[in-house]
């Protein structure tokens, strides 16, 4: 039996409905990158995309009781993000005009151009993806097989255990070991990024 992502999320949603913010926090961590990508497609600005996704998560938590569990949590939050992004675009034109009048006339401050996403950000994203894929490829055969069957084919631990002919507990450990290696690689990458930033400082 395939593990349903919907059921997994619904478990967390039910806890969030009962007021458990910790469960909602895990959903934020899980979907934030994907939703920022969605918002970015509308506004073409990373900072604003982050703000819009932040707003979308806040709205969704406030109205979590209205979420009918017949769709997935992701579909629901995706829709909220799209609507928030569209509304932003509609109101942005008016706000830009008001801001320009306010600041340029009364305070003599310039309006900076809207922050475009830089190739630097895109470079970091593809670098991180490469690191994750390289780590996966560097795993031992057993670990790599278990993790690949889980991540690419979405098989349950029980199904994987049947295929590779070992106990379910072993599958669980192998998948964990694989993720541990990837986790270490991501941490190393982040340390490296911090180091290169520190070099800018005199």
């Amino acid at each position: 039996m395939k593990v349903s992502n919907k059921d997994l999320d619904l478990g967390l949603v039910k806890r969030a409905k009962a007021g458990d913010y910790q469960a909602f926090d895990l959903l934020v961590l899980k979907y934030q990158s994907r939703l920022i990508s969605t918002a970015f497609k509308f506004v073409k600005d990373l900072q604003i995309a982050e703000d819009l996704v932040q707003d979308s998560f806040i709205k969704s938590f406030k109205s979590i009781d209205s979420f009918r569990e017949d769709s997935t949590f992701y579909t629901w939050i995706y829709r909220i993000t799209v609507n928030t992004s569209k509304n932003y675009l509609v109101s942005k034109r008016r706000k830009d005009e008001i801001l320009q009048t306010d600041i340029s006339k009364e305070e003599n401050f310039f309006i900076e151009p809207i922050d475009k996403d830089t190739p630097e950000n895109l470079f970091h994203a593809s670098q991180l993806r490469n690191i994750i894929i390289e780590s996966l490829n560097g795993l031992g055969d057993d670990t790599k097989t278990a993790l690949t069957l889980r991540e690419f084919d979405g098989l349950s631990y029980e199904q994987i255990a049947e295929i590779v002919n070992c106990p379910v507990g072993t599958v669980r450990s192998r998948i964990f070991r694989g993720r541990e290696v990837i986790d270490e690689a991501i941490k190393e990458y982040r340390k490296g990024k911090q180091f290169s930033l520190a070099e800018i400082k005199p």
Binding site: I36, S37, P113, D115, T118, N121, L128, R129, E151, Y157
Partner: protein, 229 residues
């Protein structure tokens, strides 16, 4: 160390929906209270996202703290949103009992020791109330920008900078949160909230520089605020 591994293995199983309800209940509070476990959960999903979606551009971004801060603010403003009990009367009774207990407990415990961020925040508050506000901003920006213009008063400090050797411009400001509308919604902004005894303050960086540089300026703001006498 062993406990750490066992916990992480459970987190990995949770991400795959392979953990029992009982174990899930136990593990949720552990994840939220331990930054290492939270990061592991986040990295698992970054890994999944990278493998599933080749076009994903923003893998290394984390706005979860901003979301939780925003929700705390929302909940304080709108306590009716916290609907945890099925029967309203019961929720009032429980809230009353809880409130009474909280007052008693609060009066018995000693005041907490100030953390680094509290001390740093206080320094920023002092700096805002003095001509040193611009000094905090200048030090925070350091060699990343040349000061073009600034305005400072009791409501906050706002400064415009230009990146050396390019025409890129950016703005850094220091405002009490009640003045937060001074930071325009249309302006791409990276902000950091600073708690203090006198209230919450906002350091903001906006403009045509990278996210990393904006983050660096925000970190510097905390660091240099501590250096102000």
């Amino acid at each position: 160390m062993i406990k750490n591994k066992v916990m992480k293995e459970k987190i990995s199983a949770l991400a795959d929906g392979e953990l029992s309800d009982f174990e899930t209940r136990r593990i949720l509070s552990e994840i939220s209270s331990n930054p290492e476990y939270r990061e592991f959960w986040k990295n698992i999903h970054q890994g999944k996202e990278a493998l599933e979606n080749e076009e994903s551009e923003f893998l290394d971004i984390d706005i979860s703290n901003r979301v939780s801060f925003g929700l705390d603010k929302v909940q304080l403003k709108d306590p009716e949103q916290i609907k945890k009990y099925k029967y309203p009367q019961a929720s009032y009774i429980v809230a009353s009992i809880f409130g009474f207990c909280a007052v008693i407990i609060y009066s018995l415990i000693p005041p907490p020791i100030e953390s680094f961020s509290d001390i740093a925040s206080q320094r920023i508050v002092d700096a805002i109330d003095s001509p040193q506000g611009i000094e905090v901003l200048n030090n925070s920006v350091s060699s990343l920008g040349i000061l073009q213009d600034f305005k400072s008063n009791q409501k906050g400090t706002l400064a415009n900078y230009r990146v050396p050797n390019s025409n890129k411009t950016f703005k850094v400001s220091l405002y009490p949160i009640k003045e937060v509308n001074k930071i325009g919604v249309g302006e791409a902004t990276r902000i950091s909230y600073i708690k203090s005894k006198n209230g919450t303050y906002v350091v903001s960086v906006s403009g045509n520089i990278s996210t990393e540089k904006k983050n660096q300026i925000l970190r510097n703001a905390n660091f240099f605020a501590e250096k102000i006498n």
